[in-house]
């Protein structure tokens, strides 16, 4: 089940800020197969997603990211990973999503991911992301740095996050997973 936009834009008044909370979603007891932020205003300069999440399957992992419901092969990712014993680097091009960076997620503890999307509303540029992600469960862990691109100049109005799925059926985010979208002026 999709969990959509649940946070509210702030009402008028108060202190003008440069880092605004746009929307927040917390996963309930039934879990969620994806998270969607929609109707994103174009009035900020950059976006940041701050998330913690736990998934139901160790063959799942950090969030795949797509924009404006585009599931075509219009994305690429480059990554640097540390799995606690060795570092590796690689890329995924002509892909249907930006990769989150973690392939084998703990089912016991929450992972974390911070995603920056720079100049998201500029219609003269493809869209670039930067991600810091990690998980550790006291026996294994992964730290990841990932850059991504959406090869499209459209302003981003929708962001969809889904758990990395290496098996079928698709995996789910578990209860208390929390996703927050912020706008930066």
């Amino acid at each position: 089940m999709l969990n959509g936009l649940v946070g509210m834009l702030g009402v008028g008044g108060g202190v003008a800020t440069n880092f605004d909370s746009i929307a927040t979603t917390t996963v309930g007891a039934g879990g969620s197969s994806s998270i969607t932020f929609s109707s994103i205003p174009s009035t900020y300069k950059h976006l940041q997603i701050r998330a913690i999440y736990k998934v139901n399957n160790t063959n799942s992992g950090s969030s795949r990211i797509t924009f404006n419901s585009d599931t075509g092969n219009n994305y690429a990712s480059h990554y640097l990973l540390g799995n606690g014993s060795s570092a590796s680097a690689g890329n995924v091009t002509s892909n249907s999503y930006i990769w989150g960076g973690i392939g084998d997620q703990s089912t016991s503890y929450f992972g974390a991911q911070i995603i920056d999307i720079l100049d998201y509303a500029n219609t003269n540029k493809n869209k670039t992301t930067r991600s810091l992600a990690g998980v550790d469960d006291n026996s294994s862990g992964t730290a990841a740095l990932v850059s991504g691109v959406w090869l499209n100049t459209a302003a981003i109005t929708t962001i969809t996050l889904t758990p990395q799925s290496n098996t079928t059926p698709t995996n789910t985010y578990l209860q208390y997973s929390h996703f927050a979208l912020y706008g930066i002026r």
């Binding site: 946070g7 509210m8 834009l9 702030g10 108060g14 202190v15 003008a16 800020t17 440069n18 880092f19 605004d20 909370s21 746009i22 929307a23 927040t24 701050r50 998330a51 913690i52 640097l80 990973l81 540390g82 799995n83 606690g84 014993s85 060795s86 570092a87 016991s108 503890y109 929450f110 992972g111 974390a112 911070i114 810091l132 992600a133 990690g134 998980v135 550790d136 469960d137 006291n138 026996s139 294994s140 862990g141 992964t142 730290a143 990841a144 740095l145 209860q175 208390y176 929390h178 927050a180 912020y182």
Partner: protein, 169 residues
């Protein structure tokens, strides 16, 4: 619009000290961000933090590091600290810097508090890291104790430690 990214407390050292403690951290934010820019009086050391005065072996860390001549990854488990640097990057000359995100720090339904950090320094020991750390506790974090890995080694005057709160809608 309510303030979303708020400085909670900042400490710029006027004289050397071995320990910086942020206590009585309010539980009204969603995430914390700890920013450190520091040097030490002498030698080269790492930086470590503990939550809620927990000195037990309830922490673990996974490192992705680059030293300028090598890249690698390692981890430690069942340890008594969160490490904010893989190597002894905190020195006496050029400041070492670190940004640590402590996510959902006050949510007692989240088993285990996760911190992800980036740090770097270009002193006698130079390098940069991405680190993910776990504190195996459901408690809300109300205290952060910051020390270096030296014994009795002071952070230098001028070192800056700042804690920010981020509030989601």
């Amino acid at each position: 619009m309510p303030q979303t990214y708020t400085p909670i407390v900042s400490n710029t050292l006027s004289s050397g000290t071995t320990t910086v403690t942020f206590s009585s951290i309010p539980d009204t934010y969603t995430d914390l961000i700890l920013q450190v820019q520091a040097t030490v009086a002498s030698g080269n050391y790492g930086l470590k933090i503990q939550f809620n005065s927990d000195t037990g072996t309830n922490y673990s860390n996974c490192f992705l590091y680059g030293t300028g001549s090598a890249v690698g990854s390692t981890r430690n488990g069942t340890t008594n600290q969160i490490n904010l640097a893989y190597a002894a990057l905190l020195g006496a000359s050029s400041p070492w810097i670190s940004t640590t995100h402590i996510q959902s720090y006050a949510n007692t339904s989240v088993n285990g508090k996760i911190a992800i950090s980036r740090d770097g320094g270009n002193g006698a020991n130079a390098g940069t890291d991405a680190i993910v750390s776990l504190w195996r506790s459901t408690a809300a974090i109300n205290t952060i104790t910051i020390t270096n890995t030296g014994s009795g080694i002071n952070f230098s005057a001028g070192s800056i430690f700042t804690l920010y709160g981020i509030k989601a809608a």
